[in-house]
C-alpha cells in the first residue's frame, strides 16, 4: 500500500503537477519566472557555492538521464570494469562537490542579512531537500556500490514501466531503504518545481545559441504584418519556444507512452486481409512453439532423471550450464575431488544468471551487480550485494545401462559404488528424487 502510494501514485502526481504547474506559472505569471540570482547582493559566497553546485549537479543529472534513456548503451558502458569504477568514482566526487556547494549556499542564506532579505521559506525547503537528496545519493554510492551498473536492472525498468503506464514495482521492491528514499525524494523534488525557485530549471536559454545577436521588435501592427526582417515575428515565436523548451522534457516523458498508442490507434497502418491472415499465422506459430516449450518442461519435470553431461566433459574452470527441474539455471564443474560439482546459477541477490568462468580464487561472478561466489562453498564475497550463498545440487552418475555408479545427496554426502576409474564412462544426472528433498 505505502509502496503503491510512494512509487506509483506520487510519481504520476509529481510529474503531472510539475508539467501543469510549470506551464501555468510560465504562461500566467511570467514575472515570477526568474533565476532569482542573488549575486548582486552577495558575491563571494555565491562563487564558492553556486559554481560547484551547478556544475556538479548538472553532470550527475546528465548521467542519471543517460542511464534512463539509453539503458542498453549504459549497460555496455558499465559492464566494463574500468569504466564502471571510473563512473562510480567521478559520480561520488561530483556528489561531494555538490554537497560542498550546497553547504556554502546554505550557510550564505542563513548568515548574510542581505540574502535573508530575499529568502523565502520555500528557498530553505529547497536547500534542505537538495541536501537530503544529494546526501542520499552519496550514501548510496558508498553503501550500495556499483549503482551505475545495478540501476539498469532495477530503477531503469521501474521508470520505464511508469512511462509506459504499466507500473511495475517488482524491480525496486527489494532495494535497500537508502535507494528507496532517494527515489521518493526525487519525486518530491519534481513535485515542488513549479512552486519554488526550482522552476528556473526550465529557463535554460538554449535558444541563445541559435539566435541572431540583435533583436528588433516592431510595435506597429502594419509593420508587423508586412513581410519584414526575420525578427518581426520573433516575439510570439520566442514566447512559444520558451514555454515549449521549458515543458518539453516533462511532456516528453508523459506523452511517449500514451501518444504513440493513441496515434497508432487512429492513424496507424490498416492491415489488408492477406496481411491479417499472415499475422494470424505468425501468432499461431508463436503459440505452437510456446506449447512445445511447455510440453518439454512438463516432460522434464515428469522424468526421473535429467542428463547434465558425460562426466568426461566436465571441466574444473569452465562450467557447463544446464537447467534443473524447476527450470532454473545451474552450472556443472569438475570438483577438486574429481567428482562433479553442481551449483545453482541463479544469483541470490536479484536473480541474474551467474557466470560460468572460475577466476583464480575459485569464484564465479554475477555480472549484474558484481557478486563473486566461491564455487566450493557457494558463499558470496564480503562486499557483494548478494548476501546468501548459492546452493549446490545433488547428482548421480549412471552408466549406459542405468546402473548408479556414484551419487551425492542434498547434504553433500558422496557415495561411490564402483572403482573410481570406472566412473569416467558414466554420465552425470540430476535426479528428481534427490532434488525434491533439497527444497
Amino acid at each position: 500500500m505505502t509502496n503503491t502510494l510512494l512509487f506509483i501514485v506520487l510519481p504520476y502526481l509529481a510529474v503531472f503537477a510539475c508539467a501543469f504547474g510549470s506551464i501555468y506559472r510560465i504562461k500566467k505569471e511570467p514575472m515570477s519566472y526568474s533565476s532569482l540570482s542573488s549575486q548582486f547582493l552577495e558575491n563571494h559566497g555565491l562563487l564558492w557555492g553556486s559554481l560547484p553546485w551547478h556544475l556538479g549537479i548538472l553532470l550527475i543529472l546528465l548521467a542519471h538521464i543517460l542511464a534512463f534513456l539509453f539503458p542498453s548503451f549504459w549497460q555496455t558502458l558499465t559492464s566494463n570494469q574500468v569504466l564502471l569504477m571510473a563512473i562510480e568514482a567521478i559520480g561520488f566526487g561530483l556528489s561531494i562537490l555538490c554537497l560542498i556547494g550546497l553547504v556554502v549556499l546554505g550557510i550564505r542564506r542563513l548568515t548574510s542579512p542581505r540574502i535573508q532579505a530575499v529568502t523565502t521559506p520555500m528557498d530553505l525547503l529547497v536547500i534542505a531537500l537538495l541536501l537530503a537528496q544529494v546526501g542520499l545519493g552519496a550514501a548510496i554510492a558508498v553503501h550500495c556500490k556499483w549503482g551505475s551498473a545495478w540501476c539498469s536492472g532495477t530503477t531503469t525498468p521501474y521508470l520505464w514501466s511508469l512511462v509506459l503506464f504499466q507500473p511495475d514495482l517488482s524491480n525496486i521492491e527489494d532495494l535497500p531503504i537508502l535507494v528507496k528514499a532517494h527515489i521518493v525524494c526525487a519525486w518530491f523534488f519534481i513535485l515542488i518545481i513549479p512552486f519554488s525557485r526550482l522552476v528556473h530549471l526550465f529557463a535554460v536559454p538554449i535558444e541563445y545559441l541559435f539566435r541572431p545577436p540583435q533583436q528588433v521588435v516592431w510595435n506597429n501592427s502594419r509593420k508587423l504584418n508586412e513581410e519584414t526582417p526575420a525578427f518581426a515575428k520573433e516575439e510570439t515565436r520566442r514566447h512559444f519556444l520558451n514555454a515549449f523548451l521549458g515543458i518539453g522534457f516533462g511532456a516528453f516523458l508523459l506523452s511517449v507512452g500514451t501518444l504513440s498508442k493513441v496515434f497508432s490507434f487512429f492513424f496507424g497502418p490498416r492491415l489488408s486481409e492477406k496481411e491479417e491472415t499472415e499475422l494470424m499465422e505468425v501468432r499461431l506459430a508463436h503459440l505452437e512453439s510456446t506449447v512445445d516449450q511447455k510440453k518439454l518442461e512438463l516432460e522434464r519435470q515428469a522424468s526421473k532423471y535429467i542428463m547434465v553431461a558425460p562426466i568426461t566433459e566436465l571441466n574444473p574452470t569452465a562450467g557447463k550450464y544446464f537447467i534443473d527441474y524447476k527450470m532454473q539455471p545451474a552450472i556443472a564443474f569438475k570438483g577438486k575431488d574429481g567428482y562433479p560439482l553442481l551449483i545453482s546459477a541463479k544469483c541470490t541477490h536479484l536473480g541474474c544468471t551467474v557466470g560460468n568462468k572460475v577466476d583464480s580464487e575459485g569464484r564465479i561472478l554475477c555480472p549484474c551487480h558484481v557478486s563473486y561466489f566461491n564455487i566450493e562453498t557457494g558463499q558470496p564475497n564480503a562486499e557483494a550485494p548478494a548476501k546468501t550463498p548459492l546452493g549446490h545440487l545433488p547428482w548421480v552418475i549412471m552408466d549406459e545401462q542405468g546402473k548408479v555408479m556414484a551419487s551425492r545427496d542434498n547434504k553433500g554426502q558422496t557415495s561411490c559404488f564402483v572403482q573410481p576409474d570406472a566412473l569416467s564412462a558414466g554420465k552425470v544426472y540430476i535426479a528428481k528424487s534427490l532434488e525434491d528433498k533439497t527444497t
Binding site: 514575472m31 526568474s34 532569482l36 512552486f195 528556473h200 536559454p205 526582417p229 516575439e235
Partner: protein, 500 residues
C-alpha cells in the same frame, strides 16, 4: 539599405550645472520601488571622477561592449565577455557583474525615532537604516558620492581617462583652488548596435523598430544578468527584489503620447535635445568595425540625410511614417551631429554605436589662466587649446576614442561661435581678426548664428521634436493597450513581485 528611425539625443555639456534635477525627476517616476532604490537610470557624474557604478569605464574589469577581432578584410565584432559559450557558465556566477559594493547600499532614516523616542537628556536622532536589510548601517557610499570632488586623490585621481596624461598635466588639472571639472549626465544611449541586446541569453532585450528605444521585456527576463556586464555604460541595473534587470526606457509611455521624457523636461540648464535620426541599420554594426580613432567619422557614415529624396523613398518603403520623416528633418540632433558636427558620442570605442551625443564643454578650456588672470588675447586664442586645463587628451578619451583632431575641431568651432556673437554684441574684436578665426574654426556667420540660436535661445519645440508615434495602431510589445489598459507599471501584466 535598411533605413530606420531612432529617437536620439544631444546633451550640451557647457550648459549643465550639475544640479541633478534630471536624476531626481527620473527616480521619482520610475525607480522609487523596492529593489530599485539604488538604480539611477539617469545620473550625473563629475569628471574627472570615477562615476557610478565606481569605475564603470574600466572594461578590463567589467568587460562590457564589443571587441574588434580578426584580420583585415575579415573583421568581426565580438562581445568582450559574453560570447555564446561562456555565457552559459556565467549563468551560475558572473565574475564581471558589479555588486552592491560597486554602487552603494540604499538607505533611509529612522524618522519615526524623532517622534517616538523616550524623553531623555539627548536630542533624538534619525539613524540611517538599510533599505535592503532594514538594519542600522554606516553610510559608506551613495549616489554621486564623488560629486564635485574633482581633484580628490581618493576619487578623481582614479578616473581611468586620465591614464595618458603627463604628471604636469595632472598637476595642472588638480591645482588646488583652481580645479577644473565638468558634469556628465548619463542615461542609456539606446545604442544602434547594443551589446546588451546581443548578450541576453533569454532574448528579453530588444530594440524597438519604430523609434530605436532599447527595452527589457520584464516577462521574458530570467535574471541571468549577462546584459549588466555586457553594457559598457553600466546602464542596466539588477532589481534585487524581483530578480529581473531594468533600464532606462526613455519614458516611452510619455514619448508615445507626444510628451517629453522626464529628465529632458525637468532639465534646469536646458542642455537636452531630443529628435529623430535616420540611419542605415545595415551599416550599424558594420560602421563599428574600424580602428578606434576612425570610429566617430565611421558612425556618421551610417546616418542618413532626411532631405535626400532617395532616402525618403527608402524610409517610406521600410514603413517609416511621414510624421517620423518630418521629425527627422526638423531634428536638432541631425543639426548638432551631422550638419555642424559638434556633438560626439561618449566612449564610442565600446563600439555599441551610442545614439546619445554630447557637445563637449568649452568652459574649462577657456578657463586657462595666465597668472590666475582670465585672458583672451587673440593671438594665442587657439593655441590656448593645447594648454587648456581640461586637456584635449582627456576630452578625446571621453568623446572621440582618443582622436584629438576631432575634439579640436569641435572646440575651435564652439569658440569661433562664441567670439562671433561677442564681436556682434560688444564690437571689441576687429572684424579681420574675427574672419580669420571663423575660417580657422571651420564655420560661417550663418552657421554660427544658427548654432547660437539652437544652443542659447531655443524654444521648447526646437529642443524636443517628438514624432507622432501613432500609438492608436500600435500593439505594445508586451501587451495590446486595448487589453492592458490600466494595468500597472511599465507594460507588465502582473505586479512586479518576487517569485517563490
Amino acid at each position: 539599405m535598411d533605413i530606420r528611425a531612432q529617437v536620439s539625443m544631444v546633451f550640451h555639456l557647457d550648459k549643465c550645472i550639475g544640479c541633478h534635477t534630471c536624476s531626481v525627476a527620473c527616480k521619482n517616476v520610475w525607480t522609487d520601488r523596492p529593489g530599485a532604490e539604488y538604480m539611477w537610470w539617469n545620473n550625473v557624474e563629475t569628471k574627472p571622477g570615477t562615476g557610478f557604478p565606481t569605475l564603470w569605464e574600466d572594461q578590463s574589469h567589467y568587460k562590457g561592449g564589443w571587441e574588434l577581432k580578426g584580420r583585415d578584410g575579415n573583421k568581426k565584432l565580438e562581445l568582450k565577455s559574453q560570447n555564446k559559450i561562456d555565457s552559459f557558465v556565467k549563468l551560475f556566477y558572473n565574475p564581471n557583474q558589479p555588486g552592491l559594493e560597486d554602487y552603494y547600499e540604499p538607505w533611509t532614516y529612522n524618522y519615526a525615532n524623532l517622534f517616538e523616542a523616550e524623553a531623555g537628556d539627548d536630542q533624538p536622532t534619525a539613524i540611517p537604516v538599510s533599505l535592503i536589510t532594514g538594519e542600522p548601517m554606516n553610510i559608506e557610499a551613495g549616489p554621486n558620492w564623488d560629486d564635485d570632488l574633482s581633484g580628490s586623490t581618493f576619487y578623481a585621481e582614479n578616473d581611468i581617462n586620465l591614464e595618458e596624461l603627463s604628471d604636469e598635466e595632472r598637476e595642472q588639472l588638480f591645482e588646488i583652488e583652481r580645479i577644473s571639472m565638468m558634469y556628465l549626465p548619463r542615461i542609456c544611449n539606446h545604442c544602434a548596435n547594443p551589446s546588451c541586446v546581443a548578450s541576453c541569453p533569454s532574448g528579453a532585450l530588444y530594440k524597438r523598430g519604430e523609434d530605436g528605444i532599447v527595452l527589457i521585456n520584464q516577462d521574458v527576463c530570467r535574471g541571468w544578468r549577462a546584459c549588466i556586464s555586457a553594457c559598457p555604460y553600466k546602464k542596466i541595473y539588477y532589481n534585487w527584489k524581483t530578480g529581473k534587470s531594468e533600464k532606462c526606457i526613455l519614458c516611452y509611455p510619455k514619448l508615445e503620447t507626444g510628451q517629453i521624457p522626464n529628465c529632458f523636461q525637468s532639465c534646469v540648464g536646458r542642455i537636452r535635445y531630443l529628435g529623430v535620426l535616420l540611419y542605415d541599420a545595415d551599416r550599424a554594426a558594420e560602421s563599428m568595425k574600424v580602428p578606434d580613432k576612425a570610429l566617430v567619422e565611421s558612425q556618421r557614415t551610417a546616418f542618413c540625410d532626411p532631405f535626400d529624396p532617395e532616402i525618403i523613398k527608402m524610409a517610406k518603403a521600410n514603413g517609416i511614417s511621414d510624421e517620423f520623416i518630418k521629425a527627422a528633418q526638423l531634428s536638432p540632433i541631425y543639426k548638432y551631429v551631422m550638419k555642424w558636427k559638434i556633438a560626439l558620442p561618449l566612449h564610442i570605442e565600446y563600439r555599441t554605436m551610442p545614439m546619445l551625443f554630447y557637445v563637449p564643454p568649452l568652459l574649462p578650456v577657456m578657463g586657462k589662466m595666465a597668472n590666475g588672470i582670465y585672458t583672451n588675447a587673440l593671438d594665442n586664442f587657439f593655441t590656448s587649446l593645447d594648454k587648456s586645463r581640461l586637456p584635449m587628451k582627456y576630452l578625446a578619451r571621453l568623446f572621440s576614442a582618443g582622436n584629438e583632431d576631432i575634439i579640436e575641431y569641435v572646440m575651435k568651432k564652439l569658440m569661433a561661435v562664441r567670439y562671433y556673437k561677442r564681436t556682434l554684441d560688444m564690437q571689441d574684436i576687429d572684424l579681420v581678426m574675427m574672419n580669420k578665426m571663423m575660417r580657422e574654426g571651420g564655420t560661417t556667420p550663418e552657421e554660427a548664428e544658427e548654432i547660437y540660436r539652437l544652443t542659447a535661445v531655443p524654444t521648447i519645440d526646437q529642443r524636443f521634436v517628438i514624432p507622432e508615434i501613432q500609438r492608436e495602431e500600435s500593439i505594445e510589445s508586451t501587451c495590446n493597450p486595448e487589453i492592458c489598459k490600466g494595468s500597472c507599471g511599465i507594460g507588465v501584466i502582473q505586479p512586479p513581485t518576487r517569485g517563490l
